[in-house]
């Protein structure tokens, strides 16, 4: 499991820019950013190279930020690669709350971020031959 930063944002002009500028000025790099929204508000989900520091920074700047553990899994670069991954979870009776993709920092293939409300999900993927990322793959874990 890796740490995702979840931020509550109102749908107001410039707010997302402010959020990303805050992280940028602190030298924090984002691997992925995904916004889920309604007409009034949204939740911004970020995979970065310094989640704990990002959370603190954002809180200091008045954002409502929290850390959510999610799965990050390399998706095989071939047809049905993602389907096989999702089928493995489905076969174990596990539902996916949300998912999004980013390109692996070291280059090349896609990484899928999954929120599965089941503590056994990571093991299910390992058993099915996938390689879930550990924190060390993405960032230096904060002590």
């Amino acid at each position: 499991m890796v740490e995702q930063i979840s931020v509550f944002l109102e749908n107001t002009a410039g707010r997302l820019a402010e959020l990303t500028r805050t992280l940028g000025d602190a030298g924090i790099n984002m691997h992925a950013l995904m916004v889920a929204d309604t007409s009034e508000f949204g939740v911004v989900r970020i995979i970065s190279d310094a989640p704990e520091r990002a959370k603190l920074l954002l809180e200091q700047r008045g954002f409502s930020a929290s850390i959510t553990p999610v799965l990050a899994v390399e998706v095989p670069d071939r047809p049905a690669g993602l389907a096989e991954l999702l089928e493995a979870l489905d076969a174990a009776g596990m539902g996916v709350e949300y998912a999004y993709c980013f390109v692996q920092p070291s280059g090349g293939s896609a990484v899928d971020v999954l929120k599965v409300d089941d503590a056994q999900a990571e093991q299910v993927l390992v058993d099915a031959g996938f390689r879930p990322f550990t924190p060390a793959d993405l960032y230096t874990p904060d002590v």
């Binding site: 309604t38 508000f41 008045g62 949300y98």
Partner: protein, 434 residues
């Protein structure tokens, strides 16, 4: 005039009548109402010591909390045996006050509402549709009894079912419509939807009250419904509708001073202000038996217009009420205290008790949006959970306020605070050309 001998009596005669009625009222409540007795004793006020209207300033005030604290019947000055009816304020649970009327009170109230209709220009030949709610609210039955007392044909429709209201206005040949001003606009809108030109309806007079409205709203109602719109004023703690009313001059509301003593006081120092100055309106009910109130602070802001009126009534006028000295809002006719919202929010996880009420108009009806700050440590990563939270806040606030609202979740500390205190209410209703 319905009772011209009273409504146009000389100032001297009116002063003398007020003094005599005040003296007898003070003696009566002191003898029959333990709360007033204690209040007077605590203040060192001797109820028999009043021998001029200028002594009024020595008498302790009465506030809404006095009535709440003695819920339901504790503030009555007559035995329950003599009470023939109760009404209750439109406030929500915990804020309700109950008022009781003797047969004599109902009789006088009917006269005052007959005066109200007459000063709007109505006569026994009119057909009056009462669209104020019948029930615990004073509006419906108050207007009903006044209409009958005037001898008008009374159509007791009560509130709701706007299409039926329009159909009855048209089919019954209704000439006088009594309702809230915002409802009058809804009636016009609904008539148009039904393919009926509201200007062709037979209604010639509107008797509108129970909520604040503006001069521009009056013009809109008058042009959309082709009628004369008259502003009436009242509050259940004092009697209900029929405390003050405009005449056909539409230039301020005549207070029925033979029954109600009106004062304007500085809302902060509570010192009486001279005629013409703006302050809080305070009433003393001179003739009520069931639940008389003495120097009752209405929290409504207005001023007395001392100049004589062209209509010939000698009773002084107050200006249209322009605001409140407390935080009470009137939303679709319901009294709402924003502080109730805070009480609800304290009990809900993941939101902060910081909120802002934004009032606007949707068509002719009030629209309420409550902005609520999510908590600092709010830890949701899914929109669905936010929506669930939003629904919960909406349901709980609505149940506490008894009005429907919309909820908007906003970021922590995003509601503007001035001197550490948030601005709780943004009322844009008047700005939208209502």
């Amino acid at each position: 005039m319905y009772q011209s001998e009273m409504e146009s009596m000389t100032r001297e005669a009116l002063d003398a009548l007020q003094l005599q009625r005040l003296q007898s009222l003070l003696a009566r409540v002191y003898a029959n109402n333990p709360i007033y007795r204690r209040k007077f004793d605590d203040a060192g006020f001797d109820p028999l010591s009043v021998d001029s209207l200028s002594d009024l300033g020595r008498i302790p005030f009465t506030v809404k909390d006095d009535l709440r604290a003695s819920y339901p019947y504790g503030f009555f000055s007559a035995p329950l045996h003599d009470i023939v009816r109760v009404h209750s304020s439109s406030g929500t649970t915990g804020q309700v006050t109950v008022v009781g009327y003797t047969a004599g009170d109902i009789n006088r109230w009917s006269d005052l509402m007959a005066r109200t209709f007459a000063s709007a220009g109505a006569t026994a030949d009119d057909i009056i549709q009462v669209t104020y709610g019948y029930g615990l609210f004073t509006g419906g039955l108050g207007a009903h009894y006044g209409s009958e007392r005037l001898g008008a044909l009374t159509v007791p429709v009560s509130g709701g079912n706007t299409k039926r209201q329009v159909q009855i206005l048209k089919d019954f040949g209704v000439t006088v419509l009594a309702c809230t001003p915002s409802y009058a606009l809804l009636i016009a809108e609904t008539a148009r939807e039904m393919g009926i030109d509201p200007r062709e309806l037979p209604v010639r007079i509107g008797v509108f009250g129970a909520e604040p409205w503006s001069e521009s709203m009056r013009h809109q109602i008058e042009s959309e419904l082709n009628l004369k719109a008259i502003d009436i004023y009242g509050l259940s703690e004092v009697m209900g509708p029929g405390v003050a009313t405009e005449c056909e001059c539409q230039c301020g509301l005549h207070v029925f001073e033979d029954h109600f003593l009106v004062e304007i006081v500085d809302a902060d120092t509570l010192e009486p202000l001279p005629d013409g100055e703006v302050g809080e309106v305070v009433f003393t009910t001179l003739t009520k038996e069931g639940i008389p109130v003495i120097r009752y602070r209405t929290r409504d802001i207005s001023r007395i217009i001392p100049e004589p009126c062209a209509c010939g009534r000698s009773m002084r006028r107050i200006e249209r009420v322009t605001g409140r000295s407390d935080d009470m809002l009137i939303i679709r006719g319901v009294n709402v205290y924003p502080s109730q919202i805070e009480q609800v929010l304290v009990g809900i996880e993941n939101v902060a008790p910081h909120y802002q009420v934004v009032l606007t108009k949707r068509g002719s009806m009030d629209h309420v949006e409550v902005h609520v700050e999510v908590a600092d440590d709010f830890a949701f990563d899914e929109v669905r959970e936010l929506e669930r939270l939003q629904k919960r806040v909406k349901a709980e606030v609505e149940s506490a306020l008894a009005v429907s609202i919309a909820v908007r979740l906003v970021e922590p500390k995003s509601i503007a605070r001035s001197e550490g205190k948030a601005k709780r209410v943004v009322d844009l209703r008047a700005d939208e050309g209502a």
